[in-house]
Symmetry: C2
Subunit: 462 residues, 2 copies
Amino acid sequence: MTAERLLVIGADAGGMTAASQARRRVPAAELEIVAVDRGRYASYSACGIPYWVGGAVRSVDDLITRTLAEFAKQDIDVRLGTEAVGLDLAAGTVTVRDADGEHRLGFDQLVLGTGAVPVRPDIPGADAPGVYGVQTLDDGAAVLAALPDARRAVVVGGGYIGLEMAEAFVQHGLAVTVVEAGPQPMSQLDPDMGALVGDAVEGMGITLLRGERVTAIATGGDGRARAVVTTEREIPADLVLLGLGVRPNTALAADAGIEVGATGGIVTDARMRTASHPQVWAAGDCVQTVHRVSLAPVYVPLGTHANKQGRVAGINIGGGYATFPGVVGTAVTKICHLEVARTGLREVDADRAGLRWVATTVESTTRAGYFPGAKPITTKLIAEKRSGRLLGAQIVGEEGAAKRIDVLATALWNEMTVEELSGLDLSYAPPFAPVWDPVLIAARKSWDAVELDVQADYSSQS
Amino acid sequence: MTAERLLVIGADAGGMTAASQARRRVPAAELEIVAVDRGRYASYSACGIPYWVGGAVRSVDDLITRTLAEFAKQDIDVRLGTEAVGLDLAAGTVTVRDADGEHRLGFDQLVLGTGAVPVRPDIPGADAPGVYGVQTLDDGAAVLAALPDARRAVVVGGGYIGLEMAEAFVQHGLAVTVVEAGPQPMSQLDPDMGALVGDAVEGMGITLLRGERVTAIATGGDGRARAVVTTEREIPADLVLLGLGVRPNTALAADAGIEVGATGGIVTDARMRTASHPQVWAAGDCVQTVHRVSLAPVYVPLGTHANKQGRVAGINIGGGYATFPGVVGTAVTKICHLEVARTGLREVDADRAGLRWVATTVESTTRAGYFPGAKPITTKLIAEKRSGRLLGAQIVGEEGAAKRIDVLATALWNEMTVEELSGLDLSYAPPFAPVWDPVLIAARKSWDAVELDVQADYSSQS
């Protein structure tokens, strides 16, 4: 018996976790595993790049989660600098390009772990030197190399990555401007909660421009970016950072006829098998998944999902059984002293899902009010009208605030109502929470609001 | 129409929350509310006493959650220094003793919020001067007054309160010995997890004696405690602290024929009405409740439950509808740099409940391993054999560890299996968690252990 071959395209979280899991179940004599990646690194934490640039993480090596030697020990053959340029499903081959030119690799099973690419706005100058993305370690290295000569940085987009990078630039002493097209930064939150983040960003000395669209990146005589042009003004820049998020990298898959969904991500079943081809699997930032609250397809590129999906794909490829259960849209970040978290649906998402909702926001403290280190925490809950089912939650606060989102994510997962939520047995001691945890207070007030709303409906009918 | 009277016995969390909630729904013209308490304070945070003694909380006033003036504004008549000494259900009266002697107060509705009393061991010298409990603010003040003359403190009992007080004494520079009868301190955890706490306690310079029972408290010529005598030795002490926990204060209720359960707490229904008398309600540290995992009656004196139960009682008394849904046994504390948390059943509890279980313990970090401030966290899960249903969880770790217990408490509440738990969409970013949150790693390993256990069962049968 000759060994079958598992080919993995993209040697990061999704693909390499799949490879490792498959190897755990099937020895090299039965399954050869080859992973190709056009980049210079395998298995790294892209989420750590802003902290590397900012200086909190000292060395790029710290961001590399597994080395090539570790993969080699597992009999996983990782080929870097090797780009997959063609996929022939009928023939079962992938065309790769490396230093020796192009050649074909056959496969019995294929994992698409092609990840994401930064969104580049369709404006003049977007590709000019001096304009950076933050997707790969090479991107991070390029930004770090540019810092010593830069005094002024402009960040396009005030989402997670944009604000994390803006903070990193402040730590290097740069004058930083963030240009956000929406009414508030952090559009992953409702605008009222995003406003709290905006205040903190301005408090760091960052110039925050709200409701301004970038129309061009102006270049100098040397072709390098020299300013960001918006609908309102021109902002001189020695360094321009694109923080507009990412989109799934699916060109290879789509060209081969693999189904891509409404979100732009590859469509898979719960076992991470593509909808189009039984031997082709996909995991990580290139796939779409399902939102367990709206039940709609969503695209949520996040390392934690990539790892879970890769694990599921690898178990199934290795002859086991596992499923990825979807997401509820949980995310967290830290901007200066502010912790920011969200899960579930925003107001606008609930509207899109055709749900009627009641929003409630409460302010509290992270510890007993009298305990040293008690910090402010603002919790917003969105509950369905009448039923009181929790639909979404957002938290903005200081130290100790954000991780509370996990309770709300778990509540969403279990389709709890805010009334049920208010009865939860959450931990209490003065160094950790007030006697009513902020989550419980928010749940109580949310249920009160649901009841008042019902009464108002009846009154208006009479 | 003359106003009815709501009488509340015990002016702390359970009773006063009931009073406030009833008042919100019924004006003073219809409902007179009188609360009596034998002590000098109403509505205070007993959980804060160790931090007041230790110095983290500066003033006793910080521990008083609501003042008499605030209650007066709500038309709630709080009478301190007034002890309830008799209850006549048939007559609908309570006999109280105050500075003016004894008299009777009639009631239409009665709330028993009589709280708890410290467990005093039945040994010689237990009541001697120099032996302190930690239940009331007066207790705290007495300990504080004793500190300047004390060099050596002995704490009897290594549970939450015992260890919190031991740490407070260390902060005052005392030489501290903790005597624990069990194999490890913190018997609210399994011994393997308690051992981690024991190591930290010894690391603080505290002498920890395990497996030693206290047989007497020796007194000097002045009648004051001068040493703690154990099965092994005699330990000189200038100050003895009883940290043996509390028991429900139910003498008044039991004498009147109100049903007291197997745990010693007053039995109520989910609306907090006593099982014995429709006009008598009870809330807080004097009641027993139901454990949602074992479905057994349990006694869990904790401020957060007292507040919830009082609120439920008050809403029902005021003509509304609310229920207290029981507990899952969540608790948290901080011992020096160590955070300790638990929820659900320990191994011994699962045995008692007749459940067969598999325990799994994993070590991880509170943040991404490469992120500054990443601290160790040990997570133990107990899952039911075969089904994989989560039964209990324990966490011991450093900064950022303990509040993760709330996710596990929420999972218990929803009867999740550890397999389901491992799929949860928990928040991830390097400052807050590794890409696999410790809870997810623990859940995955726990499910692996459940599956291996099933296989072992089959193998042993063949």
